[in-house]
Structures are given as structure tokens and as C-alpha cells.
Point group: C2
Chain length 578, copies 2
């Protein structure tokens, strides 16, 4: 019975860290060897990390990436590897190297280059034109890269009808909630349509605004799940592929029998590249059945935020983080995520009460810090606020208190956090949510001051869900009930409430999704049943706060469209839907 | 004698301002009519402004743009117009409408979509595939868009050999210093190679990071300049094109006689679209000879900064700006630019001396404000600084003063400027130069706080050149000699000098250009004759301050590669050249 034992190394590569990425690759090679794997795959651009952005314009970056590939090639004895790297042949290509037993046997060039959303691949890469099939351990294997497999009549089909029994798709597919299910259905369709086993090897890890969720999949020729990699963790997935079953299924599939004619032609045109005719004869250890986990939202969003935060902090060389704790739900959730990502001993909370802070705000922050086991520093801002008002008195004479005085307080807090950051080398995490980022209900250089904006893509209503989720995991009020239950307030003037300025969040959030993520017009959103005044106000706030978002720190993308690379609007813009 | 009177409306369109753009277009139509123009052209995407970025993903934006085109079409009686707009036919296209006498006669779709540097056109547009030639007033006219004409064997040549005697290229070509000359040589080559008159109608105006410099050109069939639009100003260029001369030159050009065979084939394939067979018979007023100005750097850079600043401020609805004046060269230059852009009465300087400010810093700022005729507010920061040190005393106990205390001062200044901005609605201009932005020699939320960073793409050595240029224009020390002559200092600690931290600017700037703008490796820059230690230090500073630049306000691009949309590096990045 023809079988192929495949290993998929779901590694957490770091952009530009050639040494570290080689080390991870070679560790997986050693592990795969001891598991009797015939073919070991790695994610898209595993050698250099994804996305390298304009590093790709540096010739020395391309060269180091080629050297790293040589290094990996040297250490591949007895195995066949598929490794993502940047190929340089006149132009540069997003490529997959096929390496066998110390030799580079072939290179596949990605054909479909995504250039939408967060992707800019046309900026860098030339598109590939060929869809070869490799014979690996006697099995026909078609290799393609990420976007390639999303096209129904793309390389996957060309390869299947050219004799590929297995399709290896190496990927760096950024996470957003719900995408996993969608991707899985697409891959299952691709597998059953082409009567081929599909092995999708995704990247895992955080890179600036993006989180790659792993969740690599092997699906059989009927689209049924054979194996799944962990979500948000590194993993080595090993699976035995029943090639015989592919053959049998094709034999009885009328579509396929028509296709095999194409296959014969294709073979004669010589697009079949033989890497190794026979599977390795070494005895293989038997494989335990992998447990197929089903993750549910909001669990996966929470895990995405934890991984994105951990990787941003540690890959940028920080150990500790600093968070301004207001006693509100946003900063409490961010502190919980940070404690889960880095350990409570690496998280410092700072309470900075003002004349407008309620006593509960301070006691809530203290209770939260105790619950999480993080350190809390308290620095009242009244004295500094008073000093600002004094030096500004002459300039402000005759004016009424307004947003100027409010923002001074937020910016004092930003300055204090940054001073602690500069003094002790701790990274400041900001605590603004997506509803605030969208509407500009946030102070530039104030609560927006910091290196990483953990929940900037999380709408306020989802902030509550995530807090409840975390509490349910803990089996207790880790985030205190008083924090969960209080009305949101910036506490920058007496009795201030978010609803003084914004529509209630349960109305606002769906309007923002419709406007920001789905590009609906005002008319369309009103037709969905929302009040005209609410819709127009929300749209106006979104449009007029683009300048603030342009100066925001990056944060984890968890929705289909995040602020940042994903959404590129001009600041200077007179187009008004409202 | 066959002649065509062409008008090129070099307008300052605003992104999303359909009403305003229509008004400008119709004003030009009226003026062109009274000048007896046969064919009137407008810049690339004149209807909606350039670049509209992700507004193009909003269906309602596309619709309004189509309505605006209809409005323009209605008002075109007696004229032929070429107007840039977004065409929507299944997909969307960067397009040129050919309108004649109230009717849309044809649409050209841009074929070469730039997707490098500041450009993302593959993100939005489908590429055109056809190169028609229009017969306008009896003359063969090939129309193409911006990038199209940069390709030697592109649409221009296809159109010339299909019977075009005139090539109209509508453009939105962003300025950087020296590009004008380069573009002019390219256009002259294209004209003489194809024995065709080239009329290049460029956009003028500022849009976020970009300035379009106008400088529209008409070149005859031998590549000689016939007319030039103003640089950095709106203009209506009117020129009489001698079509007879094109015919005569082609008759004697052996290359061309070969090409005419192609032309005949092309005609038979019906790619010639007749708009109007005859030139208008109305008597034409005679044209004054346009004076051909030759602008020299740094004059053109200065003008670019003035226009970019004026348009950012006014198109975003501001009147007045606020600038922190330190008595140093950077803030002095920015104040001079702002005063030229907006008038001195719309510029407010704020001096914010600290315990480390030299007495000369304050008197220099005062002298500068007097020279420029701008208001100066003085707000000493000592009291606020003292308050911060007090509230932080417990946390800072046992530490030595370091960058934390320095940055507190810069951030107090940022906070004061923002408080004035919030109180009075004035836009804060930041004063950091490119050398500082590159090396991170700047305080995030401190001197980087503000809405527009006027000189963020101007290296320090060029800052001095621009100051000298401005003084030479004034014929006096508008920017006082004491400011020009003092050693640069941030004045955040006793006796601080920039050279404590950075290499001297005349060494640093060429290294930064080689590293940031030209992607040279450390080894290559050392081989150019720079000291290894200087090169490595500069490269390290550039690489490790990416996070600061990500949160910087936009500023005017004046070099071949600016920070911002033009250069997209990851923050999380372990690739080190140094």
C-alpha cells in the first residue's frame, strides 16, 4: 500500500532572524527524522519571516536569505524538505525550495501575489508561471504557496491533473476571527474537487500588526480532516497519507478520468520532476492519533491577542511591559492579556488618579492588580495638572474649560508612562479599543502613547465578551465585577460618561463594522435599521479622526479589516458620506 | 497649415472634493473657451483627486466620481476635453475620459499601474489593454496616463505608430528634487523617438505626504520645449501645436516610414476613434509667448515645502498653525516656511524655555518672530518639569538622570502645544528634520507631537541650505545669523550638543542617504570612504527607531525616498547590516 509520511513544521519564524529561523528549521528536521518522515514542509518565507516588507528591497537581505537556504540544504540528508524563501533570478520571487538529501532539486514560484488588505506582494515579487509536479518518495506532489490555493482553477488543479496526488500548500495566512473555518472549508473543497490530499502548512506567530494562527491542516482526497496543527502555538504535525486511496477514488471519479488524459499529455511535456522515486525504507514509528480541537470565538481572539502581544514584546527585545490602569474594562483586559502573555511578574500597572477619578477607579485597579498578581504603582497627576494650568493660565485667559484641559490630563499620564518606560526599559502597552480608535474617542499622545496597542482592533462590545471569557477560564472574577459593570468613562471631567459623546456601544459597534470594515454607505447602514443621526455621527467621527490613527502604535489585527496597513485612507479628504 | 490649439489645465484638485474639483474644471473650461482652445486637458484623476487610496474601495465614492464626470460632460459644449476619472466597468480603472461637445466619446484605461515607492495602484485598479488614437479637430491624438509614458515601448509608441501626431499624457507625478529634469529629458526622448508632440499635463498641489509640482510640458516632435506650466502653482497652459511639422519630420525619418506601415494595419483594425474631424472655425486670439522659467534647487525644494504645508493646512480646514520655537535652525526654517505658506498673521510661535535653555535661545526665537512678523508666546516649562520630577521621585529613587528626564521636557512642550491647539483650533507643525527622523534623535510625543512634519524629509545639511536660500531671497538675515551659526543642540541637559550622540551632520547625511534612500549595505557605504564606526552607528540608529517613525505625523516628500508610505519596513525585524 502506497503511503507517504508527511511532517509539517508549524514554526514561529521571525522577520530577518536568519540564524534563529535556521535553528528552528533544523530542530524540526531532527525531530522529523526521528519520526520517520518522508517529506517535511515549512511555512511560506520560513527562511526570512513574513512579511519582510521593504527589507526585500535590500540586496544584502536577499543574499543572506539565499545563504540561509544553503545552510538548511546542507543539513537535509535522508529527507525531502519544502522550505519557503526568496528566490532571486533576475527578479525576486516568493518561492518554495524542494530540497532532497543535501541537494536543491527544484524551486516553485508563487503565481498569485496578493496585493489587497494587508498584502503588498506586487510591490516586491515577480509572479511565477509554472506548476511543476515533483515525484517525492514515489508520490506525485504539487507544491504551491498560500494565495495560490485560493483560486479554484489555479495551480492546485493544474498540478492535480498533472499527476499530483498530494498538494502541499505552504502559507503565511494572517488571522482574523472566523477565517479559520472559512479557510478549512475552502481547502476541503479544493481537496475533494481535485481528488488530492491537501497539506496546508501555515505560519504561527506575531509580526507587528499580524498574527499567524498556525492551525495547519491535512485533508484527504474527499476533503475529510486527517490532522490539524495547534492554533497559536508551534507544532510539528506528522501524518501518514494514504496515496492508494487517492488512486482508488480517482479511478471511480468520472471527472477525474477525463482529467487523466491531461495528465498524460502533461507528463509528456516533462513538467514532472523526479526528486526521489521510492519512499524511505527505514522502519517508521507508529503515529498517535492527533486530537482534533475545535476552538471557539472568543477563545481564539483572546489567544490571538496573547500571542500577538507576546511576540511583539519579546521579538523586539523587551521583557517587561507597563500599562496605565484606570479601573476601566479596557485597561483591565489589556493587563490580563499581558499577564497571560508574559507572566504577571513582567507586567507593571500604573494607576494615575486625577481630581476626576472616582474612588472606585482606584480600588478597582488595586483589586485587579492583586487578582492578576502584577505590581501596581500609583502616581497621582493632580500636582502636574495644576502646574500645567498655571503656566497656561495667561494663554487660556477668558476661555471656558474644554477638551484642552481634558487632554492635558491624558497626556500627563502618557508622559508619566513614557518616563517610566525610558527610565527602566519597559514597553508601554496602550489600552484603546477599536470603537475608540474608529471614532477618535482617545487622546493623541495621551492614552494613545505607547509601543503596542493590544486591543486596537477589538470593538468595545467584544472587549466585554473577552473579559467574560477570561473570567470563565479563571472560574472567578479575575477582572472584578465592579469593573465589568460600571458605565464606561474617560474620567477627564466631572461625571463624564462615554455616552455623552458616543452612541451606546451596542448601537455604535455594528454601525462601525458596516462603515469601516464593509464600506457601506450611510444610506445602506440606515436601511439596515440604524438611526440616521447615529449613523451620520459615527461616520463623521470615523472620517475626521484619520489623523489620529495615522500616529497610533500598531496592534493585533483580529477583524477582517483592521486600522493600519489593512486600511489606507488619506488624511486630507473632503469625501463625506454624512 | 494644420494646427491644434491645446490647453492644459494644471489644477490643484483635492481628494474627495467633487464639488470643488468640478468648479475648478469648469473655470478652466470657461477660460479655455475664451482662448480659442480646441482641446483642453486635465491631470490624472482630476475629478476625484490623487491619490484617493482606500476611498476607491467605497462604491459610493466611485459613483460620485461618475456623477461628477457627467456634470463636467454637460458643460463641455464646443470643446474637446480629456479628464482623469475612475472608470467602473466590472472592475475599476484609472481612466481618461474623452469628452466632446457634451458627449462622452471615449475612455482610455491606464495600462502601466505603478505599485512601488508611494504608489499602490495594483491594490485598486485593473490595467487597461487598449491604446486607441482619437481624431480630435482633425488631428490624431494618443491619450495615456502618467506611468504609461515612462515605458519606451509602451502606449506612446503604439499610439504614435497608429497615427497619433500628438500624445497627451495626463499625470499626477509626485515631486522630489531633481525629478523635474529627469522627467523632462524622458518626455523629450519620447517625443523625438516617436516624432510626436508630447503634451504632459501634471497635477499641482499637496496631498498628505505628496506634493505635485505642476511643471506641465509641451515638447515638439524633435523634443524641443514649446511651453511649460508654472511650478507649484495652478496654471492654464495654452499652446499652438504645429501638426504640419510632425508630418514633415515623419516624411523624412526612415524609422518612421517603416512605422507607417504599422499605422495602416492599425487603422484597418479600427482603433482610430473619430471625435471631431475639423478644428473649430472660430477665430483664435493670438497667444503670448510663455516665459520659460528655470528653477533651481534649493528654490524648488523650498517652494515644495511651502505648497505642501499650505495645502495640508488649508485642505484640512485649518487657518492658523502653532510652532514650538527653540531658537534653533529647524524650528526657524519651519516658521519661515509657514509664514510664507499662510501669511505671518496665521503663524504663532511658542517659546518654551527650560532650565537648560541658553539665554541666546530665547532671544534668538524672539528676533526670529520679529523678523517673520509672527506672534510669539513664551511659556517656561520649569514649573511643570519640577512637578513631574516630584511625582516621579519615588519611582525614580536610586536612578541616575538619563534620557527619561530629558524626554519629560520635550513631552511637556508637546503637551503645551497640543493644549493650545485643542483650545484654539490651531494646527501644530513639528520641526524635526530627516536626519533626526532617520536616527530617532527626536522625542516621540515630544518634539514629534503635531499634525504635520514640514521638514521631516529634509536632511539637516539641506536645512541650512534652505535657510540660506530664504535669507538670500529676503536680502537680509530673516533667519538670524546667530541661529545659523550656533552648534545644534536639543538643550535637554547641561551643555548638550547633537554631536554628543550623532556623527557631524556633513558626515551623517550622505551615509543616511546611502543607507535609507539607496539600500546600500554597510560594506558598500564603508567602501565609499566613510568610517566604519560612523556607518554602523548610523545604520543601527536607523534600524532601531522604526517604531518612532511609525507614529510620526506626515510631512512633505522631497527626496527620492521619504519616510512614510514610501518606505515600509517592519518594526519587528532582526535583520542587521551592522
Amino acid at each position: 500500500m502506497r503511503r507517504l509520511r508527511i511532517g509539517m513544521a508549524q514554526i514561529n519564524a521571525t522577520v530577518g532572524d536568519f540564524e534563529g529561523n535556521i535553528r528552528k528549521i533544523l530542530e524540526a528536521v531532527a525531530e522529523a527524522r526521528s519520526s520517520g518522515v518522508d517529506l517535511l514542509t515549512f511555512p511560506e518565507l520560513a527562511i526570512c519571516g513574513y512579511p519582510p516588507e521593504d527589507l526585500l528591497l535590500k540586496p544584502q537581505f536577499i543574499e543572506e536569505n539565499l545563504k540561509a537556504l544553503e545552510e538548511v540544504t546542507k543539513h537535509s540528508s535522508g529527507l525531502t524538505l519544502v522550505v519557503g524563501f526568496v528566490d532571486a533570478k533576475g527578479d525576486i520571487y516568493n518561492a518554495a525550495a524542494v530540497i532532497h538529501d543535501g541537494r536543491l532539486c527544484g524551486v516553485y514560484h508563487k503565481i498569485y501575489l496578493p496585493n489587497y488588505g494587508v498584502f503588498d506582494e506586487n510591490r516586491y515579487f515577480q509572479a511565477g508561471k509554472e506548476c511543476p509536479v515533483y515525484v517525492i518518495a514515489g508520490v506525485g506532489v504539487g507544491i504551491n504557496i498560500c494565495e495560490d490555493i485560493w483560486y479554484e482553477a489555479g495551480p492546485t488543479t493544474a498540478q492535480a491533473y498533472s499527476g499530483a496526488e498530494v498538494i502541499v500548500n505552504i502559507s503565511a495566512s494572517p488571522y482574523h476571527f472566523g477565517k479559520g473555518n472559512f479557510r478549512e472549508r475552502m481547502l476541503a473543497t479544493r481537496a475533494s474537487d481535485n481528488v488530492a490530499i491537501v497539506a496546508h502548512n501555515n505560519l504561527v506567530g506575531g509580526q507587528d500588526e499580524l498574527v499567524f494562527d498556525g492551525n495547519s491542516l491535512v485533508l484527504d482526497e474527499k476533503g475529510r480532516l486527517i490532522a490539524r496543527g495547534k492554533q497559536f502555538e508551534e507544532d510539528l504535525i506528522v501524518a501518514d497519507l494514504d496515496i492508494e486511496a487517492v488512486f482508488r477514488t480517482r479511478l471511480h471519479d468520472p471527472r477525474w478520468r477525463k482529467g487523466t488524459l491531461l495528465l498524460e499529455e502533461q507528463r509528456q511535456r516533462g513538467t514532472r520532476i523526479v526528486v526521489s522515486e521510492e519512499p524511505s525504507t527505514a522502519p517508521k514509528p507508529s503515529l498517535p492519533q492527533r486530537q482534533l480541537q475545535v476552538r471557539q470565538f472568543p477563545g481564539e481572539v483572546y489567544d490571538a491577542l496573547v500571542l500577538g502581544t507576546r511576540d511583539y514584546v519579546t521579538k523586539n527585545g523587551f521583557e517587561k511591559v507597563l500599562i496605565g490602569l484606570s479601573g476601566g474594562i479596557d485597561s483591565s483586559l489589556v493587563a490580563a492579556i499581558a499577564a497571560d502573555a508574559l507572566g504577571p511578574s513582567n507586567v507593571v500597572g500604573v494607576a494615575m488618579p486625577s481630581r476626576y477619578s472616582s474612588p472606585a477607579s482606584i480600588s478597582d485597579a488595586e483589586l485587579l492588580a492583586r487578582n492578576l498578581g502584577i505590581k501596581l504603582i500609583t502616581i497621582p497627576i493632580e500636582k502636574v495638572f495644576q502646574a500645567y494650568l498655571e503656566v497656561l493660565a495667561a494663554s487660556f485667559e477668558g476661555t471656558e474649560p474644554n477638551v484642552a484641559e481634558e487632554n492635558i490630563q491624558a497626556r500627563i499620564r502618557g508622559n508619566i508612562l513614557m518616563a517610566l518606560s525610558n527610565k527602566f526599559g519597559w514597553l508601554v502597552l496602550t489600552t484603546g479599543n477599536k470603537s475608540e480608535m474608529a471614532t477618535g474617542y482617545t487622546t493623541l499622545y495621551g492614552d494613545m502613547a505607547g509601543g503596542f496597542a493590544v486591543i486596537k482592533d477589538v470593538p468595545k462590545t467584544m472587549v466585554y465578551e473577552l473579559a467574560r471569557y477570561r473570567n470563565s477560564l479563571a472560574g472567578r472574577q479575575l477582572i472584578p465585577a465592579t469593573i465589568m459593570d460600571k458605565a464606561p468613562s474617560a474620567e477627564l471631567r466631572p461625571e463624564q460618561k462615554d455616552t455623552d459623546t458616543l452612541p451606546p456601544y451596542d448601537l455604535l459597534d455594528p454601525v462601525l463594522t458596516a462603515y469601516v470594515e464593509e464600506d457601506n454607505s450611510i444610506e445602506q447602514i440606515i436601511a439596515m435599521g440604524f438611526e440616521e443621526a447615529v449613523v451620520k455621527r459615527a461616520a463623521r467621527l470615523v472620517d475626521t479622526s484619520e489623523y489620529k490613527r495615522r500616529q497610533a502604535p500598531p496592534g493585533v489585527k483580529i477583524t477582517p479589516r483592521a486600522f493600519g496597513r489593512d486600511r489606507r485612507l488619506p488624511i486630507t479628504n473632503r469625501f463625506k458620506g454624512w
